[in-house]
């Protein structure tokens, strides 16, 4: 079953450890600019959103790529870029609805999350467990369960007991 990276942004404490481990692993350097994941912080509102490639089922980047450089990995089903084919037009960055891809400023190449071949390091290093690898058949119920917990006080009221 395909496994994807899922974020529970309410758990994110905005520490950016994911950016550090991602760039260290992929670029041997600690540099957010070269990371495949970025925590977008809304400091005035108190919200942090780790943003990365969602590895879509019908990737807009794949559809728009004029060089046919974007393809899916046979095993992990991650969306990957064949750098040998890539012409560096950055159309994929324009097309992506979430900002999953970025451009390496020095190497002048598209960089994006490849799910670390199925075992993402950001998941391991996230101190809050805000990032998870989830199998596609449980992703829906997982979110539903997490979200419905917000109403647990209502549940307590109705059932007279704590979860």
């Amino acid at each position: 079953m395909k496994r994807v990276l899922l974020v529970n942004w309410e758990k994110c404490i905005g520490c950016r450890t994911c950016e550090m481990i991602c760039s260290l692993l992929n670029e041997e350097r600690c540099n957010p600019t070269e990371a495949r994941i970025t925590v977008i912080k809304f400091e005035e509102k108190g919200a942090d959103f780790p943003v990365y490639c969602q590895n879509c089922e019908a990737p807009a980047c794949e559809a728009i790529c004029p060089a046919k450089a974007i393809y899916k990995d046979d095993i992990t089903e991650a969306v990957l870029v064949d750098i040998r084919r890539c012409i560096g037009c950055r159309m994929c960055i324009l097309a992506c609805p979430i900002g999953g891809l970025s451009f390496h400023p020095a190497r002048k190449e598209i960089i994006k999350c490849d799910l670390c071949k199925g075992d993402p390091a950001c998941v391991k290093y996230c101190p809050e467990g805000a990032l998870e690898v989830v199998s596609l058949d449980t992703i829906g119920v997982k979110r539903r369960r997490e979200n419905i917990r917000k109403f647990s006080s209502y549940l307590d009221m109705m059932t007279g007991g704590k979860e």
């Binding site: 550090m20 481990i21 670029e27 600690c30 540099n31 400091e43």
Partner: protein, 618 residues
């Protein structure tokens, strides 16, 4: 240069010029952060310059671990000559500004001279621009950060508020909307240079020597941090800290005269409810699992973001005897916005209330402000005036020691401060002999920079653990007893050294000691490729500490200046768990003797020839 960026940026505001030097000139002997900061200050500033004059420099220095995967590595150290104490002034902040500076290619920024008109600095990798800031002058911290991020949202902003512009000795430097290098009047130094802000954007990153080793070490450090008792409590520490201060007998109320304030339990309860009702989510600094910050779901005035630091609320509540959480929160926001040190400002407010009650100052002096403990509205008004240096606020803005000198009329008798006039932090020191010694001998006169995890501090609530820790450090369980004078110099030395390490490596002092030296030095080696023996590290720390001493001696510091305000030696605690405790002058001086000896300084507190030779400082 792995770990380090390799360059230090110099900006001369008088000449409108920038230049860089190699970090390697200093890093071998002074490590980074606080160490290099002190060295630059010692070399670049001639003796006895006006801290608010163009001669003084303001150093922002990161360490070799700042901005790496190393947990809790969001720190930047600020070093300058303090306008409050006229001695070395150091302060330190977390967040993301230091890392961004590192990623822009600089280990530090040194500000020299004074701009003719208000300016701000924009750093974007190799591009450094000094820009006009006349439109920013007068704006508060929140507005300034917002403006400097318009169209440039990835900017990390260090700035001062009106308090820094008006050169209040209680002003700090803010980093984005929350972190502060709050102490020693560093904001006033920035204001005196006509420098409103430094906005940084960096895309170069930090190079790492051994990426594999660093990955392993960082997981170990993270796990170690998660085993700290504080880890579990951190998100609720904002109110639990009140409880802990109470349990350990550190809490005092008002201007250090009351220990059994009848509303103290109510205050904790109110704050707890307020926080629980409004707590949105916890937040951390770069790579830190500790989540010391709390976002609140309430908005401040003018929609200001509310994100609270846990150490500051008790100072507001205790000093000003405020049990209404609305005012605690409001005064906290006010200080963050105006660019004030919350702890120092609260202490000054408590002093003013004491002076008012004792009739030393009157309604006429305060221009109608009723300085009265518990009166949050009056304090909020007074703090606005302090930041603007209006009316009586002009005197209070000097900080405790200089303020009582200006007031005269015997006001000095009521003042409580540490060396050089720096306000103490939110705890009573009379029963805690080690903390008292720290406040007297340390570099910048505030124990914030030297003690965090002293076993004395939790002796009452966790005696067994405190004794164990004391035994590990000085080989004697009894050393943990706060009221004992013996063994304390050794303990002070240990914690000072730990703090210097943390501040120089660029990591946070809070988890530093619990994680342990070994892991941090392994992380240092993985980042930089430099193998350091523990012995060499100790020598480096001794060198930094002794250079700090040499700086202060050059500014005219004498043995008798290594002290706290007279009141702490004369007036015993009247009530509560430490009733009768006072500092004994003779025993205190004996502690100093031993401390100097352990540091290799003579009886006047001057480093001996031999020490200077050993440390390569001759």
């Amino acid at each position: 240069m792995n770990g380090y960026s390799g360059k230090i940026l110099f900006i001369d505001l008088s000449e409108n010029q920038t230049s860089t030097i190699e970090t390697s000139l200093y890093s071998r002997e002074y490590l980074g952060g606080r160490g290099i900061g002190v060295k630059l200050l010692y070399d670049m500033v001639r003796p006895k310059q006006d801290p608010l004059g163009p001669e003084n420099i303001l150093v922002f220095m990161t360490g070799p671990l700042t901005g790496t995967l190393t947990p809790s590595s969001g720190r930047v150290d600020i070093v300058t000559t303090s306008p409050e104490s006229n001695l070395l002034g150091g302060s330190n902040a977390g967040g993301f500004w230091g890392p961004e500076l590192k990623w822009a290619g600089y280990d530090g920024v040194v500000i020299k001279g004074k701009a003719k008109n208000p300016v701000y600095i924009q750093i974007y990798n190799d591009e450094v621009k000094i820009k006009d800031a006349q439109k920013l002058w007068g704006k508060d911290v929140f507005e300034t950060v917002k403006i400097l991020r318009q169209g440039n949202e990835e900017n990390q902003v260090a700035c001062i508020g009106p308090a820094g512009e008006n050169k209040s000795n209680l002003s700090g430097i803010a980093f984005n909307f929350r972190n502060y290098a709050a102490r020693a009047g560093v904001g006033a130094v920035m204001g005196a240079k006509n420098l409103k802000a430094i906005a940084v954007r960096g895309t170069k990153g930090s190079d790492i020597y051994d990426t594999k080793a660093l990955q392993e070490i960082c997981l170990e450090i993270q796990n170690r941090e998660k085993m700290m008792p504080l880890y579990k409590d951190a998100p609720s520490w904002h109110w639990k800290l009140f409880q802990s201060l109470e349990e350990d007998g550190k809490a005092f109320f008002g201007n250090y005269e009351s220990f059994l304030w009848e509303d103290r339990i109510k205050a904790v309860q109110n704050v707890k409810e307020f926080i629980q009702q409004n707590h949105l989510k916890p937040e951390s600094c770069l790579t830190c699992p500790l989540r010391c910050w709390a976002h609140f779901s309430i908005r401040g005035e003018e929609g200001a973001p509310i994100i609270a630091c846990q150490g500051t609320w008790p100072s507001i509540a205790y000093f000003m005897k405020l049990s209404d959480p609305y005012y605690i929160w409001r005064i906290y926001t006010l200080c963050q916005k105006l660019g004030l040190d919350v702890g120092g400002t609260s202490a000054v407010m408590a002093l003013a209330a004491d002076l008012y009650e004792m009739g030393v100052i009157s309604f006429k002096d305060t221009k109608g402000i009723l300085f009265e403990l518990g009166n949050g509205k009056a304090f909020a008004e007074a703090i606005e005036k302090l930041a603007k240096r209006e009316d009586f606020g002009d005197i209070l803005a000097e900080g405790i020691k200089k303020a009582v000198q200006k007031i005269g009329r015997g006001a000095e008798r009521y003042a409580v401060h540490s060396k050089g006039g720096t306000e103490l932090w939110l705890m009573e020191v009379r029963p805690f002999k080690g903390a008292a010694l720290t406040c007297a001998v340390t570099d910048s006169g505030s124990c914030n920079r030297a003690t965090y995890a002293f076993p004395d501090f939790y002796y009452r609530s966790m005696q067994k653990q405190a004794k164990m820790v004391a035994k590990n450090i000085v080989g004697k369980e009894d050393a943990a007893d706060p009221t004992r004078y013996d063994y304390k110099p050794k303990m002070v030395l240990f914690y000072e050294n730990m703090h210097i390490f943390a501040d120089s490596l660029g990591v946070c002092a809070i988890p530093f000691q619990p994680v342990g030296l070994e892991l941090w030095s392994r992380s240092f080696s993985a980042c930089t490729g430099i193998k350091l023996q523990l012995k060499d590290l100790m020598l480096t720390v001794e060198r930094i500490r002794t250079l700090e001493r040499l700086f202060n001696l050059r500014e005219g510091l004498k043995r008798e200046d290594d002290t706290l305000s007279q009141r702490l030696f004369k007036e015993a605690i009247k009530e509560g768990p430490w009733k009768g405790e006072v500092l004994d002058r003779e025993k205190f001086e004996a502690m100093k003797d031993e401390y100097y000896f352990l540091r290799g300084w003579d009886n006047d507190g001057r480093p001996t020839e031999k020490t200077l030779e050993n440390l390569g400082l001759k």
